[in-house]
Amino acid sequence: MKKSNGLLKIARAVLPYLLAVVAAFAAAGVFIALMGFDVFKAYGTILFTSFRTPNGFVQTLLKFVPLVLQALAFTIPLTAGKFNIGGEGQLLVGATAATVAGIVFAQLPPILLVPLVLLAGVLGGALWGLIPGWLLYRFGINEILTTVLLNFVSFNLVNYVCTGPLRDPAAGHPTTIAIGQNGWLPMLINNPPLHSGILLAILVVAVVYYAITRTVSGYELVATGANPRAAGVFGINTRWMFIASLVIAGGVGGLSGALEVAGVQHRLIEGMQHNFLVLGLIIGLIAKGNNLAVPFVAFFISVLEVGASAMQRTLMIPVEMVFIVEALILVFVLLSDLVQKRVS
């Protein structure tokens, strides 16, 4: 009895998502067909590339790591009612800090250097989250603006570091030299390469979920998001909650950067943030800020992303198509909310 109820609950939660996904694919399918492509082949590629080959799957997991972290960097402050649009800035500054640490202390043994590199990344990102937090706390400046603007600052910062003393002369592109081998994340699989960062990412997901749903601070974060004024009247230091959530989010964003450095690139490269921010936002919004849903949505989006480039390669369908599918999914998920409201 009870169990079936639980299942029913889950079904209720998942169904709208499925419908939204179907609707989005249908809508985009019309478009793709009009462009004169084979819709089914396209979707086949998009959905199954991740599962055809071991490499495909590993690559999906590798995408999943930064995406899930970027999504959390968005949803954690969202719990307190704040919008962090600065994930990529936090990723880049985190990556920068991690790289510098990894190069400067290249000689340290792995047991020290790996944690050091990751820690540096977390701190760098946290700093980049602290600035908007402080500007909000001290001057009440809208965090949406400051987080976005700091992204653009971070781009130039990366360019500076990549063309400065740490630059890699061989690459005709803003890139630093590699960090010390000892700073590279241990591999779970060597070929195709799966670095241990994924375990860390999953751990972070679990911790964030536990902290927000079970702890007192988590409760206060939720209360702050639900109504800051009331939370404040009843003793919760909401402005502190805002700062803390942005700093933690920054740390998570920074970690995503550090993992890219220590696990994949082994160096700072201009453009390494790619479109992680926007995908992170989409994931967070599709998950409606629910930290439990985030990892699942993130995995799904990773599948789409990996499938997308395969589709572009094999069918020559522009990748943007998939981006639009993702945006459509978001819109339809939002609409499904309304439908539910109307029905109940």
Partner: protein, 313 residues
Amino acid sequence: MNEFWLTIISYAKLILLTIVPFVLAGQGTMLGGRTGIFNVAQEGIMLVGASVGFLVSFLTGSNALGMLAAMLAGGLFGLALAYFTTHLRMDQFVIGLALFFIGVGLSTLLPKIIIGVTLTPPLIPTLKDIPIPGLSQIPVIGEIFFKQNVLVYFSILLSIGLWWYLYRTQAGMELRAVGENPQAADSLGVNVPRARYWTAILGGMLMGLAGAYLPMVYTGTFTENMVKGRGWLAIALTFFGGWKPDTILYGALFFALIEVLAYRVQVLGTAIPYQFLLMLPYLATILVMMFSFRKARVPAFLGQNYDREKRAL
């Protein structure tokens, strides 16, 4: 005329050239905000405007049509925002972000589909300066203000017009009332949804035009992601412009000044690494907000949705 004046003139012209996208997008944001609609999709809408504006004028060979198309595209985004927020009452930021994503995607998708692979860059003729007969003869002033392209004139006249409308007419007063307290306006027979729709749509159109400005004046072509954060800067500008047409214009001038000076410093040579000069517009924006943000009088209902039968929770 001596060297000095020539330099002054050319920089003044550059500044006016630079304010346009900020003014257009800023006024568009302000307009929607005046009825409580907070559009955060500027970046996406401007990209679509740039993309569509370029494509249409490339295909038809007419910049006018291009700008029109850009405004239509932007208007559609404004309409969508108004519909989802005013009609379906969905969260403005979420919808805004969704529209931003769609805009980014479409802007690069469209040229790929429509133009495809060409081995010479698709180019459109950029807007020519239109000297105002008579006025343009005035020394210095004439050179600076009356030898500009049509959009420079338009953005300045637009700012003045909006100011007059909002603060010197009853219609404008009622519009502001909607953004301050829609229920009060509604209870006095003002059509709140209509106000929200048209301001959101017109706002979107202005953003679309702001985007089209880049290929039409600066580059003659569309390139991926060419708005490069100007949309977000426009929002910031609107805040420290205090959501007023006149101050937004001044704010834009300040922006442009920073940008132009940042480049000048680099050209004149300096020890500061250029990356830091390129950060200046963003840092200056934040700096200005530190002192202006609290004071900025934001429309009281900004970002909220009005439902006649729903009491504010």
